[in-house]
């Protein structure tokens, strides 16, 4: 099968859908001829024209408001937030409108929109362009939250997000854009709320999301040399969360390490750890649950400090060993 980058997979998912569904269109800053800040939409304006690939003013609130309005009136908009940090400006539309309206209209209205946005650190973009704020939106009932980690997953999950009649916040990790994997040419959908076991193991479960899936896989390969068998669960979507797969895995291994790039304090790892503590997997826990997350400080500009601010492979290796008393 051909290989595709994560970035190309995002573009392909949108293009395939737009070719057959006229209701789907894109809005965002510099997504036209320029192709967006990371080049995801490059070439799309040539195929679909400026009506469907719409450049907007630099106003995230405005883009989000237009997306909510067009979705309510029957379109299926995809809005691109240039950096996920800027969701702060769009949040009133997303939290108080998009997330609420289907409920408040008793199901008579719906908001089928996708908010695509690059997140995470590692590009030297400093404190205002490097955050991982997925826990903010995961907290809001009415929003679905997706964090794909591979090119294959991103294509299938974006299809499911575009098909969904509810607002979906779709996080694309900046460092993952250039990663590639085998991706089928035809359209396919990965259901939201279905975790993926990225590696099977018996000694400890790592629940990792987005970029951390890859760091966990690296750590697992190292740990395997020492005879430690790691199972890696990628939830893929935080809302809805596939609790069953995580519970089953922890029940099997008896040990859990949760890793995400977002700041540990108040991060989604706390939700996963609590969910396990409340679940039937509790009686199988043979070590305290460990969480790894970003430090409680803005992401530094200095590249070395930037790396130190979020979990790295050695941190994951150490956490696993600590969990195993090794």
């Amino acid at each position: 099968m051909r290989e595709l980058t994560y970035l190309e997979a995002v573009r392909e998912a949108m293009s395939l859908e737009m070719r057959k569904n006229d209701d789907v269109f894109l809005m965002g800053e510099d997504i036209g001829v320029y192709g967006g800040a990371f080049g995801v939409t490059r070439g799309m304006i040539e195929e679909f024209g400026p009506e469907r690939i719409r450049n907007t003013p630099i106003s995230e609130a405005g883009i989000a408001g237009a997306a909510v309005g067009s979705a309510l009136t029957g379109m299926r908009p995809i809005m691109e937030l240039q950096f996920s940090d800027f969701i702060t400006i769009a949040l009133d539309q997303i939290v108080n409108q998009a997330a609420k309206l289907r409920y408040m209209y008793g199901g008579k209205g719906k908001v089928p929109m996708v908010v695509r946005t690059p997140s995470g650190s590692g590009t030297g973009a400093a404190a205002q362009h490097s955050q991982s704020l997925e826990a903010w939106v995961a907290h809001i009932p009415g929003l679905k939250v997706v964090q794909p980690s591979t090119a294959y997953d991103v294509k299938g999950l974006l299809k499911a997000a575009m098909d969904d009649d509810n607002p979906v916040i779709f996080y694309e990790h900046k460092l993952l854009y250039k990663t590639s994997s085998e991706v089928p040419e035809e359209e396919y959908s990965i259901p939201l709320g279905k975790a993926d076991i990225k590696r099977e193991g018996t000694d400890v479960t790592i629940v990792a999301s987005a970029i951390m899936v890859h760091k966990a896989l690296e750590a697992a390969a190292e740990l395997e040399k020492e005879g430690i068998s790691v199972e890696i669960v990628d939830p893929r979507t935080l809302v809805p969360l596939d609790t069953e797969t995580i519970i089953q895995s922890v029940t099997k291994t008896g040990r859990l390490v949760v890793v995400h790039e977002a700041v540990k304090r108040g991060g989604f790892g706390g939700e996963i750890a609590s969910m396990i503590a409340e679940s039937e997997a509790f009686d199988y826990l043979d070590a305290p649950i460990k969480r790894l997350g970003g430090i409680s400080a803005p992401i530094p500009y200095n590249p070395e400090l930037e790396k130190a601010a979020v979990p790295q492979v050695p941190d994951i290796i150490n956490a696993v060993k600590e969990t195993l008393n090794k």
Partner: protein, 442 residues
């Protein structure tokens, strides 16, 4: 929290223990199962082990002190705890009295301590380890945790269940086992809660004979266990001396023949030699009160009543009903009482009252082809009479060999309480009494 170390009550007769040696100084850390001090009781010397772990904070007694049972000998606690200058007074012989005297809070505290010994409270263990313990209906007692700060993980409890390596074991036994390369798991512990003690390890060293054929195994329990414990204790703790003598039973047989119809018509019981011997023994004991004594603690108690214990064989066991005041009973009444008690014993209907209070015991094996034997004293009594069969033997009387019915009497006595000469004098007089039983009428 402060935890008391008590003087243990190791036997029903123990009232004080003498402190022989301290193994720990104030400020030393003490582990569960570690000996703290050694005491001497009226029966044995024994090391007293700690039920708690912590620091030995305070010692209240010195070597050679006699310490009453249940008195606080020392305190164990954290380094932050402060032990009182004088120990809390808990002066009571038995537990019911002790709890009655103690303030309620203390009772509650003791109860909690007791409990924490046997439950999983306050143990550092993972949920998985707790689940496994629960599923296997076991506790974390003695399980070594492999995690940080001794946290018990699932594997630890699984190992403990599978290897039984969680056996309680005294430090001395553990050392001997390690030196000899003996696997503790294979050793059967005889101490409290199955604790492996030194003797268990030593016993285990004996080469075990290969048993190829099927054997029947009977567990020591119930009456068998009670008999075993008592016999072991009495045999090991009492310096026994056994004296034997031949008794010419010619006149005793005549006496019985004469009394048989009389007593049978009165009581419907047939008087046996046992009753005649009991009567003679009671009469002789009256002249020799030192043989009718009990040894309890540091005291020899000369009993006023003459209550004879009668060893009765029952199914897989031995029980000793007590016939009270034998010296005051006529043979007819004595026959009735002893026959009834014997029947009750065989039907397991004796009340506890009917089994206690004996001051001297008679064990009769005369129905078998047994002459003399060495009976074991029924503590706290200080002597026991073994009765053999009556058999015709050639004896020399007045220079000629004649045939006489002869019976051997075996008297075991406690040499701590009685010396050889007075015991011999007693047995001699008993022999004369049986050879001239008419004297019993006097």
């Amino acid at each position: 929290m402060l935890k008391e170390v008590f003087m243990p009550k190791l036997s029903s007769t123990m009232e004080v223990g003498t402190l022989l040696e301290w193994f720990k100084a104030e400020g030393d850390t003490v582990d569960v199962g570690e000996p703290i001090f050694e005491i001497m009781t009226d029966k044995i010397n024994i090391e007293v082990e700690s039920y708690e772990e912590g620091i030995l904070l305070k010692k209240y007694y010195e070597v050679d002190d006699e310490i009453p049972v249940n008195a606080v000998v020392a305190y164990i606690g954290d380094k932050n705890d402060v032990a009182p200058e004088t120990p809390t007074a808990i002066e009571a012989e038995d537990e019911t009295a002790a709890t009655a005297d103690a303030p309620e809070a203390e009772i509650a505290e003791n109860a909690i301590n007791e409990e924490s010994l046997d439950t999983n409270e306050k143990v550092r263990a993972t949920p998985a380890a707790r689940r496994v313990a629960r599923e296997n209906n076991t506790t974390f007692n003695g399980v070594q945790g492999s995690g940080p700060k001794g946290r018990i993980h699932e594997q630890d409890i699984l190992d403990a269940i599978n290897n039984k390596s969680n056996k309680l074991v005294t430090p001395l036994a553990a050392k001997i086992a390690a030196d000899q390369g003996i696997d503790i798991a294979e050793v059967h512990g005889t101490g409290s809660r199955g604790k492996v003690v030194k003797q268990d390890i030593l016993n285990n060293q004996q080469p075990q004979t290969e048993v190829t054929e099927e054997v029947e195994r009977i567990k020591l329990k119930g009456l068998r266990k009670a008999v075993a414990d008592k016999m072991l204790q009495n045999a090991q703790s009492i310096p026994h001396v056994t004296l034997t003598t031949d008794v010419d039973m010619t006149r005793a047989i005549e006496l019985r023949k004469a009394l048989l119809p009389v007593i049978e018509s009165q009581t419907s019981y047939r008087v046996s030699y046992t009753e005649i011997i009991m009567k003679a023994t009671a009469s002789t004991l009256k002249q020799h009160p030192r043989v009718n004594a009990s040894l309890i603690g540091n005291e020899i108690i000369i009993n006023k009543s003459i209550n004879l214990g009668l060893a009765v064989a029952v199914e897989d066991g031995l029980i000793v009903p007590s016939v009270a005041n034998v010296d005051k009973l006529g043979l007819a009444d004595l026959t009735t009482v002893s026959k009834e008690l014997g029947a009750k014993a065989r039907h397991n209907k004796l009340t506890p009252d009917e089994m206690k209070g004996s001051t001297f015991t008679i064990s009769n094996l005369g129905m078998y082809a047994i002459d003399g034997f060495t009976p074991i004293i029924n503590a706290p009594e200080t002597a026991i009479l073994g009765v053999g069969r009556i058999v015709e033997k050639a004896v020399v009387v007045d220079g000629s060999v004649v045939v006489r019915p002869i019976m051997v009497l075996s008297l075991s006595f406690d040499h701590r309480a009685i010396d050889g000469a007075p015991a011999a004098a007693f047995l001699t007089e008993l022999k004369e009494c049986l050879e001239n039983p008419w004297a019993l009428l006097v």
